[in-house]
Amino acid sequence: MHFAFEDEHLRFRDSVRGVLDRVCAPAAVRKVWEDAPAHDAGRWRALAELGLLGLLAPERAGGLGLDEVSMVLALEETGRAALPEAIVDTALVAVPLLAGLEDHGIADPWLGRIAAGEVVVGVGCQPNPWVAHADAAELLLLVDRDEIHALPRAEVRSEPLPHLDAAQRLFRVAWTPSARTRVAAGAHGRRLHAAAVDRGALGAAAQLLGVAARLIEEAVGYAKQREQFGREIGSFQAIKHRLANARVRLEFARPVVYRAAFGIARDLPARGRDASHAKLVAADAAAFAARAALQVHGAIGYTWEVDLHVWMKRAWALETTWGTSGWHRGRLAAAVLDPHEEAS
């Protein structure tokens, strides 16, 4: 039992933060809202150069062959930066799914191109029916009952679903499953699907941690410079205690998310339960931080001009991707209250 990240994980996180600070400042996200495509090839390549996109891909296919534990801190950073790109769906969900296919001949070329930052992959299934960045995705992995299908973009029809978080490019995808598009089925297909859902939830949870942390940072920064009644508002207990409460929620969400990453990396039996737990507490921490940060900012936080809504909107959006809180609460409750099992 050793519940700590290794030095290389921390260094990798710092590298990712450094790159994101450069290529994904709030102004870049706002540009996406206003006029740019959500997928930026330059940003995507920068992430590939860090090794993030192929991190989970086997070395034979050009990846790093590492696991989710090595990735989770970096994903947190993508939340902190409100990265628009489909990093979770491509690098955390699609890569292991492709790597898990029996036919390496299909998977490996894609894996190599993902690792190189050449392609985006869209993923659609229950409970994540809408495909993020389907407009930019060259490949779509779509689930139909116990079957996994792989389709090039040309073979699906995508209807854009405009969202409050304008950097969330979601699409309703219409497609026709066929023997030609099928890449996995039966027990194998179900297993891949379940793993994809757990990974998607983990990815959203990790990003929510980053969003929550950033919201707290922004609020602290504002509270230290804004004065009312002749003193910094951050010296008022009402402000201090609210932000302290936000920090408590974040503090106790983090290890739950990291445990889920470990469980998925090791394919432990409780991985589904733990992924749901992670998604719930991370969404709660982010929602609480959003409310707190807005209230601390006051009216200025309600303006378009101030960046705060970049993270508020992401907090709300991520809460419903890869399973809503309601869905995860139901799955978790079933696991925890299962009469056949003594809850650990």
Binding site: L161, H163, L164, G298, A299, H309, T324
Partner: protein
């Protein structure tokens, strides 16, 4: 105590209901924060006025129908129950209007109130400044007397409706040597005065519900001052009292929201998180409590009482209730919650906008932190900070 309505009250309710059924626009008006929506809302106010429903509780001479506050609440129930549009001149009819009736000269009442009732003149409010938000007494916008005009310099912010309104009411510093609450005056300013510049502030939803207003040697006739010179704080506190108290958010609005939430539960509840059922019931409970409390306040006011610091209790209650109701709705909508028109499903209509608007509730009209200070100090008698 009698919580039943009199036959006269029931008749008034029936009449209002019938009129609203015949006149409320079939489809929602565009947002009042757009030029077109503002115009349409102003037209609707004129329809209301011509029907005698613009401000039922005002005296007949000013365009009302002399109803008491209970009848006003009945009208509000029918109004929101009918799904009628938001009130574009809320700053006027609910805030400045009552203030004018209390503090205005007869000439001022005659000048402003009828045009307000017809929304021929729509009002913006000008409380806050960049460094005087929660700390309203830190106001620095100045008005120096020059002959029979005040000359205004400075900046107001978070001025709701200012983008398209005709007038703004402001609290400004008339005594340049004064500090804090002293030396302020309450002045009414036409927004087309030379030297007044309005810059809309886009909100996080992209709308421009409020604006900054800059004053650069703007000359305003002295007769536009409301109340005594340097006595503006007292008047502003009265206006703020209306804002926090009875008028700003009538209970009928929240009861209508609770009913919509129940319908959303009926549509979505079967598939939703079972914990949401309790939150739907909670919404009903809260809206009822708020309505009952408001009827009690109205009864007290009719009997000659007044609203004091208890208005702060009300502000906290409705603003937090509103957030909770909308959070519950979004949870019921699940992944549909964040979708924008036209792809959002029909039952999602209004909830996302309502949620974003509800988040402003604990901030505007005095943040809830300020209200809690007021309750602690003035209702409970705890010592000042």
């Amino acid at each position: 105590m009698d919580l039943t309505f009199t036959p006269e009250q029931e008749a008034f309710r029936a009449e209002a209901r019938a009129w609203l059924a015949a006149h409320v626009p079939r489809t929602p008006l565009p947002s009042m924060d757009t030029a077109e929506g503002f115009r349409r809302h102003r037209e609707w106010e004129r329809v209301l006025h011509d029907g005698g429903y613009a401000m039922v509780s005002w005296p007949v001479e000013y365009g009302g129908r002399g109803c008491n506050l209970i009848e006003w609440l009945i009208f509000e129930e029918e109004y929101w129950g009918a799904g009628a549009p938001g009130r574009v001149n809320q700053n006027g009819i609910f805030l400045l209007g009552p203030t004018l009736m209390e503090f205005g000269t007869p000439e001022q009442k005659a000048r402003y109130l009828p045009k307000m009732a017809r929304s021929e003149e729509v009002w913006a409010q000008g409380w806050s400044e960049p460094n005087a938000g929660s700390d309203m007494a830190a106001i620095r916008t100045s008005a120096r007397l020059d002959g029979d005009h005040y000359v205004l310099n400075g900046q107001k912010t978070w001025c709701s409706r200012a983008a398209f309104a005709d007038w703004i009411f402001c609290l400004v510093r008339t005594d340049p040597t004064s500090e804090r609450h002293k030396g302020l005056s309450f002045i009414l300013v036409p927004l087309d005065t030379p030297g007044v510049r309005v810059r809309p502030i886009p909100q996080l939803d992209g709308e421009t519900g409020f604006a900054e207003v800059f004053f650069d040697e703007a000359r305003v006739p002295r007769v536009h001052r409301l109340g005594e010179e340097h006595q503006g704080w007292k008047i502003a506190m009265a206006t703020a009292g209306f804002e926090r108290g009875l008028m700003l958010r009538s209970p009928a609005r929240f009861q209508a929201t609770a009913r919509r939430l129940r319908r959303l539960w009926e549509a979505r509840g079967a598939d939703a998180d079972p914990t949401l059922r309790d939150r739907v019931v909670r919404a009903w409970m809260d809206a009822e409590a708020y309505s009952l409390s408001t009827y009690a306040t109205a009864s007290r006011l009719i009997a000659g009482g007044s609203i004091g610091a208890e208005a702060s209790l009300t502000k906290i209650f409705w603003s937090e209730m509103d957030v909770r109701m909308h959070e519950t709705a979004l949870a019921l909508l699940g992944a549909d919650a964040g979708l924008l028109p036209p792809v959002a499903p029909p039952e999602a209509a209004g909830w996302l906008d309502g949620f974003l608007f509800s988040l402003a509730g604990p901030i505007y009209a005095g943040t809830n932190e300020i209200q809690r200070n007021v309750i602690a100090e003035r209702v409970l008698g705890l010592p000042r900070d």
